[in-house]
């Protein structure tokens, strides 16, 4: 009846097909160094997509997604090392653990009316509580962590060839984008963005905010936990300091905020931009040691984040979308 959004035209279709072909063909042309980089970049894109469902759509600006990440990594890894359960199955158990943890957090947040910045702080607290627990829990590896064996066992998500990891993570990115796309056009998606904008107005308009928050955080957490399983399988080593560290958390948030929170492709664009930038910086012939390069990189991240928040609140993609919307309105 009403044609509100234009259908994708042929130009978009051609671009999409080209992009898919390039992404799938990449392992054939990349050497193992760049393939590792590509896997890592895709993993951060995936995790940004997961965080986006919570922070970008529902306005649940979590600083505690590493808790879900760790839940996934530890659950599947322990199931594999202790009980020989394949991580392909352990991945779902990890997702369940992540979702359970998210439900507990969401229920408490609603019960005690923890919103906005206070919600962010509460999620920091969750991570800060989890870290010493894992650090001192010797039967799950304590602070030294857990090693996975280096072997080729596709049935256990262990590969010698990096290309297989690449296809697994690219598949996960595709799934996360599909899930985001489906949620965005569903009732749940509309309700989530309404809560993000104004929770009271949303409730008065019929949005069951408690349920929507629970669902969005649980979905986001379950997917994040799957990323944790992949991380463990790819790097073959997990440790509280790493999986519960600030770096993975910041990368999820930065990727999303720079690319465009509350959009399907934004987190991918943003996190890829960061991965490329990080690599370019390390390639510059300045002769920095890796430690110095890492510090400089953080500095640059910080500056970019502040600049984006000040001048591009919708992120790279958000800016494009709004410009297009305004243009369409102007034409009308």
């Amino acid at each position: 009846m009403f044609q509100v959004r234009p259908l994708p035209n042929t130009g978009t279709a051609v671009l999409t097909v080209t992009l898919v072909v390039v992404v799938l063909a990449l392992p054939m042309v990349l050497n193992s160094y760049y393939l590792t980089l590509a896997v890592s970049a895709a993993l951060w894109a995936y995790l940004s997509l997961c965080w986006n469902l919570s922070g970008g759509y529902a306005g649940l600006f979590s600083f505690g997604h590493t808790a879900f990440f760790a839940a996934g990594a530890y659950t599947s890894t322990l199931l594999y090392t202790e009980l020989a359960v394949s991580p392909w199955l352990g991945m779902f158990a990890g997702a369940g653990m992540g979702a359970l943890l998210a439900l507990i957090i969401a229920v408490l947040a609603v019960r005690y009316r923890i919103r906005g910045m206070y919600f962010s702080l509460a999620t920091v607290a969750v991570v800060e509580i989890l870290r010493p627990v894992l650090d001192t829990w010797s039967s799950v590896g304590g602070s030294t962590g857990i090693l996975l064996p280096l072997l080729n066992s596709p049935g256990n998500m262990l590969f010698i060839k990096r290309a297989y990891y690449y296809y697994v993570i690219v598949g996960l990115v595709a799934v996360a984008m599909l899930v985001t796309w489906m949620i965005a056009r569903s009732r749940l998606g509309y309700y989530a963005i309404a809560i993000r904008e104004d929770e009271t107005a949303a409730e008065v308009s019929g949005v069951p905010s408690a349920r929507v928050k629970r669902q969005m955080l649980a979905i986001s957490a379950a997917l994040t936990a799957v990323g944790g399983t992949f991380y463990a399988q790819f790097y073959l080593f997990i440790q509280p300091e790493i999986v519960l560290g600030w770096d993975p958390q910041m990368q999820m948030i930065l990727g999303t905020m720079v690319g465009g929170p509350g959009t399907v492709a934004g987190p991918v664009v943003g996190s890829l931009a960061f991965s490329v930038l990080t690599e370019v910086l390390q390639l510059l012939p300045i002769g920095w040691s890796p430690e110095i390069a890492a510090i400089v990189m953080r500095l640059i991240w910080g500056v970019i984040l502040v600049a984006v928040m000040l001048y591009l609140p919708g992120g790279l993609l958000g800016m494009g979308l709004h410009a297009r919307k305004r243009a369409r309105v102007a034409r009308a």
Binding site: M1, F2, V4, R185, S186, R187, G189, Y190, Y191, I193, A194, E197, D198, T200, A201, A202, E203, V204, S205, G206, V207, P208, S209, G262, G314, H322, K325, R326, R328, V329, A332
Partner: protein, 239 residues
Amino acid sequence: MTALRIEGLRKRFKGLEALRGVSFEVADGEVVGIVGANGAGKTTLFNTLSGVIRPDTGSIRLHGREISGLAPHMICKLGIGRAFQITRPFLNLTCLENVTVGALNREPRAARARERAMTVLAQVGLDDKAEMLGRDLSVSWRKRLELARALASGPKVLLLDEVLAGLNELEINEMVRLLPTLTTDMTVLIIEHVIQAVLQLCSRAVFMQAGAVLVDGAPNEVMNDPMVIDSYLGTEREC
């Protein structure tokens, strides 16, 4: 039939008793103006009716069903819609998305809800702004968006909190002309300071002072009541 029966509604905020035993009934299809000076408890009354705040004691029945203390989204589902005094559009959503959120109450499928939202946008004259963001609207358009979002949720009882405030004379006239066409078959409660609008729109007026209903009757009688005039203009003694 009685649409709304309010009995002995009380609400205390720390030292201030905002509502001290408000009771009145609204019949189906009635358009009731709620008038009174600032601080009389009008908005607090709306807040308790829409579930944003919980009354300390008292009862609110919507078509016989007790709703006081229910969550706002449940009350919305049961048929009370509300437009806020200070408009609260979802700033980063388009007009269409704003209204779709309300429409999803009656049409769980997003595609159908968007169609319903588009129809409502057309009714309030915002259809050409469907793709504009809430933040890009002027005050007068925001008022209409607020109204559209409430209408799209399919209310039986509509609460309008100063939808005319901040509008110029031309816009007020337009809104006063528009409102009755939008609210046919609905029971409407209107908080309004523009007396002329109350006289034109309402079949009855309720005058509140210090958290209680003081005068209740035909709009022109209420507006000419000495107590009401006193409260708005002050007595001669005080001047």
